[in-house]
């Protein structure tokens, strides 16, 4: 593989590297779209951001030195999503940082089973979680990422992935089992 270090900007990749990009990165478009869809909570915005992320990945591809291409791309997608959110929904970003658990989730498996047996309700519950919780759940449960990959994508230390998932899951469980799922992100 020849290295191209002719500065930055679109179009500097030579044809071999373009080929490599298409083989390594483009196939992860579904993963990119799915993460963006859940972080932005909408398909239309996710399309824009997924496309922008792909172009950024293309631009920065010279900086990708092998390894996990999906994690590398998802890292870019995540950053692009947060930049987009800060710009377009600044209020949301502020309230999203309320990460405290206000009470422990009731561990009643039956009511949980009933509450979670509904796609719409699950979607709503997941969408009401703070973005930091939502992203680890989406990466783990939908994308099947390992802790190592989650740490790389979200830039949190690998040692804290487990507790981040723990808090996210408890929060989801709590959101599902309470009566009004819409109100979950407010004070309980």
């Amino acid at each position: 593989m020849s290295s191209s270090d002719q500065g930055e900007g679109l179009g500097v990749l030579d044809s071999e590297e373009r080929e490599r990009f298409e083989q390594l990165v483009l196939p992860h478009l579904d993963a990119a779209f799915n993460l963006a869809r859940w972080l932005l909570r909408g398909r239309a915005d996710a399309e824009d951001v997924a496309q922008e992320s792909m172009l950024r990945a293309y631009r920065f591809f010279n900086g990708f030195h092998g390894g996990d291409a999906r994690a590398w791309l998802l890292q870019i997608v995540r950053n692009t999503c947060y930049t987009w959110l800060e710009k377009n929904r600044p209020m949301e970003m502020k309230t999203q940082f309320d990460e405290e658990l206000h009470s422990q989730p009731a561990s009643n498996p039956e009511s949980l089973a009933i509450a979670s047996d509904n796609r719409e309700r699950l979607t709503r519950a997941l969408e009401t979680l703070p973005a930091r919780f939502r992203e680890v759940l989406v990466l783990r449960e939908l994308e099947g990422c390992s802790y190592k990959e989650i740490a790389a994508i979200t830039a949190i230390p690998i040692g804290t992935v487990m507790s981040a998932l723990s808090r996210a899951r408890q929060r989801l469980q709590q959101t599902l089992t309470q009566d009004a799922p819409q109100e979950a992100s407010r004070e309980l």
Binding site: A50, Q51, S107, G144
Partner: protein
């Protein structure tokens, strides 16, 4: 809930991310901690609900096309393929020949696995719909094994591992790439594990594992049979079952 394990280690265990020593330590803890046991059950319920709901949203086809078109000069032709230089063609031909003549190289096997994994997950999901799990329901290997006779052109190894925590629940016929294969169904706590078995003429391959959409699988080839164990239980569990089957 006050047991601190239920907030931390339990999740590593659920995700198959603990090393063997910590996993068995937690399993010992589970035996004496009803809180953690209930919490684990709740988390497993939540996980299977998330999986059943199929929340993964794939990119629209139009977006894929749009992106390909917007990459500067990356994709000139209609099929999205570009052989930029003769070197690439030579490389591709060489790779193809190597793969073909010299059995399968590891990476090739992995690619095939990815492809197969999606089918395995589909087959696993189909089996969980009511009434599809087993064609022959029995915990007795001497009932399940003969049931396959005459229905398959090979004889899958059927054994019960109830003593090791994997009770045999029965068997079923399934179809992969148009050929009929055997599916053995095992229980693991409240999870269902499907073990798909079919004959192969290729050489043995050590177990490899993967994970997609929250499902874990372990696949391997041994003694002319290809195996794929798939479940939403932890990879640690699947590794253990793999060892039992391979004994």
């Amino acid at each position: 809930m006050s047991c601190e394990h239920s907030h931390t280690v339990l999740h590593g265990y659920l995700d198959g991310e603990l090393d063997a020593a910590r996993a068995s330590e937690f399993e010992r803890h589970l035996e004496s901690c009803p809180e953690c046991l209930a919490a684990l059950e709740a988390q497993e319920t939540l996980r299977s609900a998330l999986q059943r709901a199929q929340l993964y949203e794939a990119a629209p086809v139009a977006l894929r096309r749009k992106i390909r078109a917007s990459l500067p000069a990356a994709v000139p032709d209609a099929f999205g393929l570009r052989w930029a230089s003769m070197r690439w063609i030579a490389l591709a031909v060489t790779a193809f020949l190597v793969a073909f003549v010299g059995w399968r190289m590891a990476s090739n096997f992995n690619e095939k696995k990815q492809y197969q994994a999606a089918e395995m997950i589909d087959a696993h999901l189909r089996s969980l719909q009511s009434g599809h799990l087993t064609d022959v329901t029995s915990t007795d290997q001497h009932t399940v094994k003969p049931w396959f006779d005459g229905k398959l052109d090979f004889s899958p190894p059927v054994r019960d591992f109830a003593n090791d925590g994997f009770p045999l629940q029965g068997g079923r016929l399934d179809v992969l790439h148009g050929r009929t294969i055997a599916a053995l169904v095992y229980g693991r706590r409240k999870h269902v594990v499907n073990v798909f078995v079919w004959p192969t003429s290729e050489r043995d391959v050590a177990p490899g594992s993967g994970s997609q959409l929250g499902y874990q699988w372990v696949d391997w080839r041994k003694g002319g049979m290809e195996f794929c164990a798939i479940s939403d239980t932890s990879t640690t569990d699947l590794d253990q079952l793999q060892r039992l089957i391979s004994q």
